[in-house]
Assembly symmetry: none
Homo-oligomer: 217 residues x 4
Amino acid sequence: MSELISHESLSRKEREKRARQKEILKAARELFVSKGFRETTLDEIAHQAEFGKGTLYNYFDSKEEIFIGIIEQAVEETLAIAYESIAAPGGVREKLLLYAHRVISYVKDNGELFHVIYHELHRGDAPANVAKLREIINRSHGAWGVLAEPMRTGIDDGTLRNCDPLQLVVLFDGMLRGYCFQRFVVEPARPDDDFSAAAEFITSVFFDGIVERKSKG
Amino acid sequence: MSELISHESLSRKEREKRARQKEILKAARELFVSKGFRETTLDEIAHQAEFGKGTLYNYFDSKEEIFIGIIEQAVEETLAIAYESIAAPGGVREKLLLYAHRVISYVKDNGELFHVIYHELHRGDAPANVAKLREIINRSHGAWGVLAEPMRTGIDDGTLRNCDPLQLVVLFDGMLRGYCFQRFVVEPARPDDDFSAAAEFITSVFFDGIVERKSKG
Amino acid sequence: MSELISHESLSRKEREKRARQKEILKAARELFVSKGFRETTLDEIAHQAEFGKGTLYNYFDSKEEIFIGIIEQAVEETLAIAYESIAAPGGVREKLLLYAHRVISYVKDNGELFHVIYHELHRGDAPANVAKLREIINRSHGAWGVLAEPMRTGIDDGTLRNCDPLQLVVLFDGMLRGYCFQRFVVEPARPDDDFSAAAEFITSVFFDGIVERKSKG
Amino acid sequence: MSELISHESLSRKEREKRARQKEILKAARELFVSKGFRETTLDEIAHQAEFGKGTLYNYFDSKEEIFIGIIEQAVEETLAIAYESIAAPGGVREKLLLYAHRVISYVKDNGELFHVIYHELHRGDAPANVAKLREIINRSHGAWGVLAEPMRTGIDDGTLRNCDPLQLVVLFDGMLRGYCFQRFVVEPARPDDDFSAAAEFITSVFFDGIVERKSKG
DNA sequence: AATGAATGAGACTTCATTCAT
DNA sequence: TATGAATGAAGTCTCATTCAT
């Protein structure tokens, strides 16, 4: 029994540590997103997380480790969206429609997170953690690979034009990011409108193009 | 006459001042693009521009003013691309194809410039120059408006689907940015391939969609 | 009876407390000697002593108190060496020879302990414990006084040159420290050689000088 | 002529830089000696040197570089003393007597400088500059080698006992350091007495020993 | 007009000490 | 009593900006 207790107590400690880490990441994430990584000070993070400055160092080795933690979170979330989407019932179109939905919601809630991340990731002065970052970046781009699968299926069964499926994913993703940027960054004040319609419109443009087709013959 | 002379001399001075400013902007631009705004020091800019550090302050009031100068340059260039594109002969499709060309070349040559700019522009703690920046941002988004014109024409004459033309521009631009990001940031090492083909492919997807059409039957 | 019990229990407690203090001092001493006082953290001491960090404060009021404890130990040991030496059978020469032996062994085993202590003791910004430190320092220099006794005897009975006996002790001690510094700090890698011979040589130089004497003639 | 001017101006700049470096070293040296290296803050050095904190970094890359600068100074001075001493007219005894004089004066003026230096030099966590420090340390011990020369001469011509000359230097130096420690550190308050007599006494003990010799018989 | 040495606010990080459990 | 998470003062170092030359 003492074993159980000790096990439980260890588990509780570990759980509490994880919880604190998440709290800190949450606070830092908000600030990083609204101000950028370099522009956010540890004092601000500590204040936002309602901890003392030194306490942060009990959970992360450096400011950079906090940033890496956030990136890991975001990458996991991105991958989750991709996997959820391809698990949707139906064909490619249905899956991408769901993906569009999810991405728009995600960006709406998380703002410029990806912008900040890309900004920091792709710079020359990558710090000591090059190896870890490389791995994370690769995982991140893995989301494209996940979505490429149903695309390939569509190509193989003759539903879609014959071309590089990864390329197609990139273009679709590009349209989504473009939309989100214009919608949430350039015109953030506009009241929420129908994001479902937006997702459908984008998906429609991607599959059918923008040329008007006199249906009927 | 002394007025004339003084006027001429002032004019020469003015011209020289502009020339110096451009040199500084050129140096700063290279550094900002490769290292980011915060990470570039005035020492580095001064060294790259082959001026003394103090001299920079004879041409710009602050580091931020230099950044604004670069943004202005970039916005002008972006607008120029938009105007050139819509001036191309032919219909919407030809104009957008040219735009795709131009954007890909531009990003290839200027790297992450836009990334850095967006990163800095859309931050909460915009400093004293809010007004000036707002104006620049608006001009920047003006490029979308320029491209929206031919789009509207296409819609009006029934060639294109009936929808918000600005929205369409945003999606097309998004595909281009997505492609460029994947091509120049994620896979920068890949040898240059046929960018014309890429531009045509993207334009084709945009106009015709990705669905395979059994032409005729 | 309860008094007795309580007294006994207190006594046991007291004994245990002393034991714990010694354990802590032992751990701290090793670290202070190899890393210096300022460079050793309480975390390291706690880990080395296999106690929790907070527990240390049940036995010492501050990091500085730990250091003082170590100094006290060292001073006691130094005095012990002095007293042992003068208790040796024989005359001044035999006593000092034993002292040389002891000091060399002690420095060999305790490394730079004295160096660290002197370094910390003789600083301008002596903290709150000035009084206590002064007292300890005086005790420490007392070792010289102890050794001065047989020296004075030698002077009085005409065996040694007539001069200040304390001065002589200081010079002899200096030679020993010089030897130890060169032997254990400058050339620590050299394999152990005959320290007895060294002690004898030093003692011989001190008593007889370095001038070659044509014995007899 | 412009060449000459430019050459002169460069030289002036260089000279001024050296002068500033020396000012900073002077200020830092005083503080390091009285408080120790770790205990002296950059703010204090800056204040003592009457410079802004940032200015120090125009002349030294880090606090550690300042310390290294001081060590280099001290080592040069030590070597100078050694070389001056062996250049003195007369035999070994006269040379060592001069050395004793010089060392006592030097320690009187520079206090615990060497103590601080040794303390910092011989520790485990030697920083990045291991190579440079090693070289400096070796130069420093070179002073012993310099003094060993006349010692060897004395041995060779039969004046001195046959033994390792370096060993002898170490012992003589030890006596001097011991004397200085007792005189300037332990009893700093004592009014200046006759240091010449002290130097002569120490030299006499070293050469002749402390045993009373019934001259004549 | 050109320069770069001087400046000090502010950044990240460490660590002795406290205190709730 | 034993613990170690929490704390914030204090340390080193950076860099945009100023100003005397």
